[in-house]
């Protein structure tokens, strides 16, 4: 149990670090910049309590916000994503629930399940993030375009991470 906590805490800092140092330098065409730090929320154990999920999401977003000089956009989006996670998990649950000792990963539940689950969460995170950041109704198409584009890129990177980093 302690190992799982420890692993998640280390993952928390590594993902923030990787986001700021590597993925924040990928900015293509003025519209694409992948936000892969949300992988932390996606990979949390099934058994996590609601308060743990929300609070860690809050501090994850706050950390990213502080380092990217943005006032609260990422915090708000990540908290929303954490809030939606239990409902998404519930609606995609296998017939007899999630197995004890398993984690939400491709290794346990297959590519199809993981892709659906992660892309939906990333989509809502990005939609809320870009809506808050742009915050103009006249730019609704810009918001949608950035959301779709970045969801695909972030989703692809996060799914690939299942094959190269989180193999098991």
């Amino acid at each position: 149990m302690i190992r799982i906590y420890l692993r998640n805490i280390i993952r928390f800092f590594i993902l923030i670090f990787v986001q700021i140092i590597i993925f924040d330098n990928i900015q293509l065409g003025g519209n694409i910049s992948p936000y892969i730090y949300v992988l932390f929320i996606i990979l949390m154990p099934f058994e996590i309590q609601g308060w743990g999920l929300l609070l860690s999401a809050f501090f994850l977003g706050l950390g990213i916000d502080i380092l990217l000089l943005s006032p609260g956009f990422h915090t708000a989006a990540t908290v929303l994503m954490a809030f939606l996670r239990p409902f998404v998990l519930q609606s995609f649950a296998p017939r007899d629930g999630y197995d004890l000792g398993s984690f939400p990963r491709v290794y346990y539940y297959g590519l199809g399940w993981f892709a659906k689950y992660s892309i939906i969460l990333i989509f809502f995170h990005h939609l809320f993030l870009f809506s808050l950041e742009i915050f103009r109704f006249s730019d609704i198409f810009l918001i949608l375009w950035k959301t779709v584009l970045n969801t695909l890129i972030s989703g692809l990177l996060i799914i690939l991470s299942q094959y190269f980093v989180f193999k098991k």
């Binding site: 900015q27 003025g30 916000d65 380092l67 943005s70 708000a76």
Partner: protein
């Protein structure tokens, strides 16, 4: 009372969500200069050492372009040298004249290197590796060899944070070269190559391709620094045009900048403040 308590425990997930979401949204909408400078200082302390190392790697990818740009600038400056009759509207002295500064000599230029840059957000910031140790302070103008980049927001010993033109908070006084009508340059957040110029009245004759330069009325930017050319324009609300300006500076590939120190900025600001108090 017990029912209420049970209700709270039962729905704590939703309530905690609303609380945390409320805090973050308060952060977004209460974003004031104090928080900004707190964020800026904290963030800079955390990441700058690392960013410097990354930017040395990043520099290699743009070496070719950077060389071309420097070469062009060399040619431009050499032409200025031989042509003694031309009016030098922008001078690049590499020394600081601390005694008698005439009007032509009230600015000094210091080179800086960009260590972190962003273009895909609405509130973009640039971090440059030059700071208080080189007497850089807030509100100094930052330019590149092609045109203006933005202004210094915050400084630490060796680094400064710059608010570029492509930040939704940016406002710059600009005018059309030739007829000297001036307006305000801002960014609508859509395209990092295009900014918008407002408050040019419709009776002014403008054309696609007209050059936009700084107006020089603020104490930050010197006069006549190039910004961009008019890409397209149309009649907007009221009797003003909405003008799209294509920037000279390419924020995707920009690497080296110069910070302009205006020796008379303090004096001008003090005078302007006195007037506004009257």
């Amino acid at each position: 009372m017990r029912t209420l308590f049970r209700l709270i425990v039962k729905n704590y997930f939703v309530l905690l969500f609303l609380l945390l979401e409320g805090i973050s949204l308060a952060l977004v909408f209460q974003y004031n200069p104090f928080h900004k400078s707190f964020f800026l200082t904290f963030s800079r302390n955390m990441t700058n050492g690392m960013n410097t190392r990354i930017s040395t790697i990043r520099d290699y990818f743009f070496l070719q372009e950077e060389n071309e740009r420097l070469n062009n600038e060399n040619v431009y400056l050499r032409n200025k040298l031989s042509d003694s009759t031309s009016i030098v509207y922008l001078s690049y002295p590499n020394y600081e004249d601390t005694i008698g500064f005439s009007n032509n000599n009230r600015f000094s230029f210091k080179p800086g290197e960009i260590v972190k840059n962003s273009i895909s957000r609405q509130y973009n910031y640039i971090t440059i590796k030059i700071g208080e140790a080189d007497s850089i302070a807030a509100n100094m103008a930052v330019i590149s060899s092609e045109g203006i980049v933005g202004m210094v927001m915050e400084t630490s010993k060796n680094f400064s944070t710059v608010q570029p033109l492509i930040n939704r908070n940016s406002k710059v006084g600009a005018k059309i070269r030739g007829n000297d009508y001036f307006g305000i340059l801002f960014w609508d957040g859509r395209n990092p190559e295009i900014v918008q110029l407002s408050e040019i009245p419709v009776h002014v004759e403008i054309q696609v391709g007209d050059t936009i330069v700084t107006s020089g009325y603020s104490s930050i930017y010197p006069k006549d620094l190039p910004i961009g050319v008019i890409k397209e324009f149309q009649k907007g609300q009221g009797n003003f045009y909405t003008i799209d300006v294509r920037l000279f500076v390419n924020f995707r590939t920009i690497n080296h900048v110069m910070v302009i120190n205006n020796f008379l900025q303090k004096e001008q600001k003090e005078l302007e403040r006195e007037i506004s108090y009257d």
